[in-house]
């Protein structure tokens, strides 16, 4: 029988047999190391979890207050059954990490989801040299080229200002964990213009504030707020709020949607939103290629997104690559917000 590789792709996780450790399992296991707190990577029901310390508050919110959870810092080495592990910044959302696994000089890195641009809230991505790199490919097509964060923030401000002049509310939608904190950090200061948050976002923000992260207080949208207050206001909402009666109180309003999918006209129109802002917490095509190159890895596994396309591209570039089937990315970037 062939010796099992350091990490294996099983029907329940990315598995390290020698340490008996599962990375981002989608089925309950004894010991799980999590890359980040998004619900397609962090599932309930494991006996014990390990993650970066910045993920703790959200993991407890989403997986249960009393889960058995051990946290580590970036770069902190620990070993399990002779296998060395460490977590390194992935730049995706707060606390997101690439998991480095080393044994006898052989290094594998499972990167979860990542982006290269500094979002001014979570710790920026750091490339990790390895032999085998496990990458996502959510936006693994050359049509995806992100404009700079700065230019997108300017577009959002301009849209918001235009809506204020027309006495409309600006309902801005995006993923509650990650996207919204990034928007808040980069749109600040709000001065005296009112900003409100949908419950799912409010919960995440308040958890992070309680854990000591530097975020301003954004009040929750409640039924006893005078509707006049919404005129010209910015309302931060999750995509699931679109076309629900929750939106009625903001009338008249304009809707904006922050996602990498907004790069394509059809994707924006299908969601029937007024404005699409191309803002993603995933790497675009050129950043995927840059990240892969900077690992100097000899072998790449592509876990989710445009896996077949991206693997074929890498092979044609002379980098050995294969697609593997996982349960990540089912929620795409921002189709649905998990239960919070």
């Amino acid at each position: 029988m062939a010796k099992p590789t350091l990490l294996q792709f099983t029907s329940s996780s990315i598995f390290c047999a020698r340490a008996n450790v599962h990375i981002d399992p989608w089925k309950p296991v004894d010991f799980a190391i999590l890359t980040h707190a998004h619900s397609d990577h962090a599932k309930v029901g494991c006996k014990h979890y390990l993650a970066h310390k910045d993920s703790e508050s959200i993991l407890r919110l989403r997986l249960g207050e009393n889960i058995s959870l051990q946290t580590v810092n970036y770069g902190e080495q620990f070993s399990i059954n002779g296998i060395n592990f460490s977590l390194h910044p992935a730049g995706h959302v707060i606390g997101s990490a690439q998991i480095r696994v080393e044994h006898n000089g052989e290094v594998w890195v499972a990167s979860g989801d990542y982006k290269l641009e500094d979002d001014h809230f979570c710790t920026p991505f750091e490339p990790v040299k390895c032999n085998t790199f496990i990458t996502e490919s959510t936006f693994g097509l050359p049509i995806y080229k992100w404009p700079s964060q700065n230019s997108i923030m300017n577009d959002i401000k301009e849209w918001w200002l235009q809506n204020q002049q027309q006495e409309k509310a600006s309902v801005l939608m995006g993923y509650a964990l990650g996207k919204m904190q990034r928007i808040i950090k980069n749109l600040q200061p709000f001065n005296d213009t009112p900003v409100y948050a949908h419950g799912a976002i409010y919960n995440v923000n308040e958890r992070l504030r309680a854990a000591g992260f530097d975020l301003p207080y954004i009040p929750l949208v409640t039924n006893d707020i005078d509707k006049k207050m919404y005129k010209g206001a910015l309302i931060l909402a999750t995509p699931s709020a679109l076309n629900t009666s929750w939106m009625k109180k903001f009338t008249p309003y304009s809707t904006g949607y922050c996602s990498g999918w907004m790069a394509v006209r059809g994707a924006k129109n299908r969601r029937s939103v007024d404005r699409g802002f191309v803002l993603s917490d995933h790497a675009d095509w050129s950043d995927l290629n840059r990240a892969v190159a900077e690992t100097s890895a000899e072998k790449i596994f592509v876990t989710h997104g445009y896996t077949d396309t991206y693997a074929r591209w890498l092979n044609e570039q002379g980098i050995e690559a294969a697609e593997v089937s996982t349960h990540y990315g089912n929620e795409e970037e921002s189709i649905k917000e998990g239960v919070v």
């Binding site: 097509l141 049509i143 790069a263 006209r265 129109n269």
Partner: protein, 529 residues
């Protein structure tokens, strides 16, 4: 071009009709006159002259984007629009061109006689000086596929408001055969020139489907009923010794139906008929798919004329001796039409017969005979109604027969186009032939967004094989597929072709073994035809 691209983006950024009209109006009030004319040409589906072959544009885009062809195709499969795919793949240009829309059109027209090398240079320099949004709009122009998310009605409203004219008059003026290279905005919209009006059809009056039952329409004696024929709705216009035949899509189709040329000598000058072009043989209409065989053809061969001869079944009389009849009540127009018909007998000129009925119940009985009469159901028209413009409720109703349907199995899926490019939303369905599944129809409409998401998820988890953009899936899901017509077809594997297939219902209750069989389809074929 900057202004036009901005208009395009702004229109794309609102879903509200009033805001779209306001944006269009602002454009028509402020843009240079030459640009307004070109914008109007584009909004009304007039294609700019094509100077470039699509294959050339692809080759140049590939060269500029510097990616392998398969990746270019994958990108297209995800975007669903070639002009946009190219705009997304090209390197981002630092500067933007200042040429106006009409200057671009003249430059494009000048390219028709240029060498391939000159053409390539022209396209490259345009791509290098445009922003990605401008590249997108420019590509739409050169690829002759410009379509924008506003209906002609909105454009008409905006222009009417901007020049303070009645919408109906604007609608009339922008219909027909005008050429932006040969006219001006002023001549077309502002200054009416009687000599130009000969070719123009009237805007079609379109009906809504009956809401629920015909009983809600009041007294049966206030209404006419006639068969709803399944062909091409058209207007026959005879003026100034010329014949013009217009389709409902405002296409001039005179040359496609040489059998109808006889109307030029048959009908008096100043006559406009509204009716349906259908294939007709042995004293009865032929199914729509026969007509379909000749629609797309450039040349109408002798063989086609023999196998699929057409007639014009008249519904209405819109102009008589040069007078606009539309303001007269339906019954008066009908009487005049019957008289015209009686005086001008010819085998291609038919009259759509009125049905005799004394109550809605009698009409309901007649409705069950629709299929036997090769009709789609009824048109019901108020006797006192004028001929209105566009789709309006109240005076005309269509009452269609329920579609034929079978329960079929999803076997292939492909990503959709336009709004659905992220999802597997185009499906192929099969029925059982003993223990084999035989594909018989493709359908992509009828599901809710949520259902599409569920099916998409199923497809991704149950793919057996990938063939380019198509995936074969484990036969599991059953859908009720509705269609309008069914015909024998040697070109299809199943030997059967259905018309307008769509998903009526997701049969979650039905196991895959209980889906319909090819034998069931054959029985349906025999009972219908």
């Amino acid at each position: 071009m900057k202004r036009f691209t901005q208009l395009f983006l702004d229109l794309d950024r609102t879903t509200k009709t009033n805001e779209k009209v306001a944006l269009l109006k602002a454009y028509f009030l402020t843009a240079p006159a030459e640009d307004k004319l070109w914008a109007l040409a584009l909004f009304t589906g007039r294609r700019p002259p094509r100077s470039f072959k699509t294959a050339q544009i692809h080759a140049w885009a590939l060269e500029k984007a510097n990616i392998p062809e398969w990746l270019y195709r994958e990108s297209y499969n995800s975007v669903g629009d070639m002009a946009e795919t190219i705009a997304l793949l090209l390197p981002v240009a630092p500067s933007a061109s200042d040429k106006t829309l009409s200057e671009w059109f003249h430059a494009l027209a000048a390219m028709s006689r240029a060498s391939d090398e000159e053409k390539k240079h022209f396209i490259f320099s345009a791509w290098e000086h445009f922003s990605p949004h401008q590249i997108f709009v420019f590509n739409k122009l050169i690829m002759g596929s410009f379509r924008i998310g506003v209906s002609q009605t909105l454009v008409v409203r905006a222009i009417a408001e901007s020049v303070q004219q009645e919408p109906a008059i604007i609608t009339h003026r922008i219909m027909g055969d005008w050429d932006p290279f040969k006219t001006t905005f002023h001549e077309l919209i502002v200054h009416e020139n009687v000599n130009d009006q000969f070719s123009r059809p009237y805007p079609f009056y379109l009906a809504y489907a009956v809401d629920g039952s015909v009983d809600t329409l009041g007294n049966a004696e206030d209404w006419f009923a006639e068969w709803k024929w399944d062909g091409i709705r058209a207007q026959v216009v005879v003026r100034n010794s010329e014949l013009y035949i217009w389709s409902r899509g405002e296409e001039l189709i005179t040359d496609k139906f040489p059998e109808l040329n006889v109307f030029l000598t048959l009908l008096p000058q100043g006559t406009v008929l509204d009716g349906e072009i259908v294939c007709f043989k042995d004293k009865k209409p032929m199914p729509f798919n026969v007509l379909q065989t000749r629609i797309g053809r450039k040349n109408v061969s002798k063989k086609i004329l023999e196998e699929a001869p057409v007639v014009f079944i008249a519904y209405d009389l819109l102009e008589l001796q040069g007078d606009d009849m539309r303001v007269k009540p339906q019954r008066e127009r009908r009487a005049a039409l019957e008289q015209l018909y009686a005086q001008n007998d010819h085998n291609v000129f038919k009259l759509s017969a009125l049905l005799e009925f004394n109550s809605w119940d009698e009409l309901k009985t007649l409705h069950t005979l629709s299929r036997a009469n090769v009709a789609e159901g009824f048109m019901i028209k108020r006797k006192e109604a004028t001929y209105r413009t566009g789709r309006k409720k109240g005076d005309w109703w269509k009452w269609k027969i329920n579609p034929l349907s079978v329960d079929a199995v999803l076997i292939y899926a492909q990503k959709g186009h336009g709004r659905r490019t992220e999802f597997y939303s185009d499906y192929t369905f099969a029925v059982w032939d003993n223990d084999k599944l035989v594909p018989f129809a493709k359908a992509y409409s009828g599901l809710t967004d949520e259902e599409i998401r569920q099916v998409d998820h199923f497809v991704k988890q149950n793919t057996i094989e990938k063939f380019g953009p198509v995936r074969s899936v484990k036969p599991t899901l059953v859908f009720e597929i509705g269609f309008e017509g069914i015909n024998a077809s040697p070109r299809h594997k199943s030997g059967i072709a259905v018309r307008f297939p769509r998903m009526l219902r997701w049969r979650k209750d039905k196991p895959v073994e209980e889906a319909d069989t090819l034998q069931n389809l054959r029985v349906l074929l025999n009972t219908v035809s």
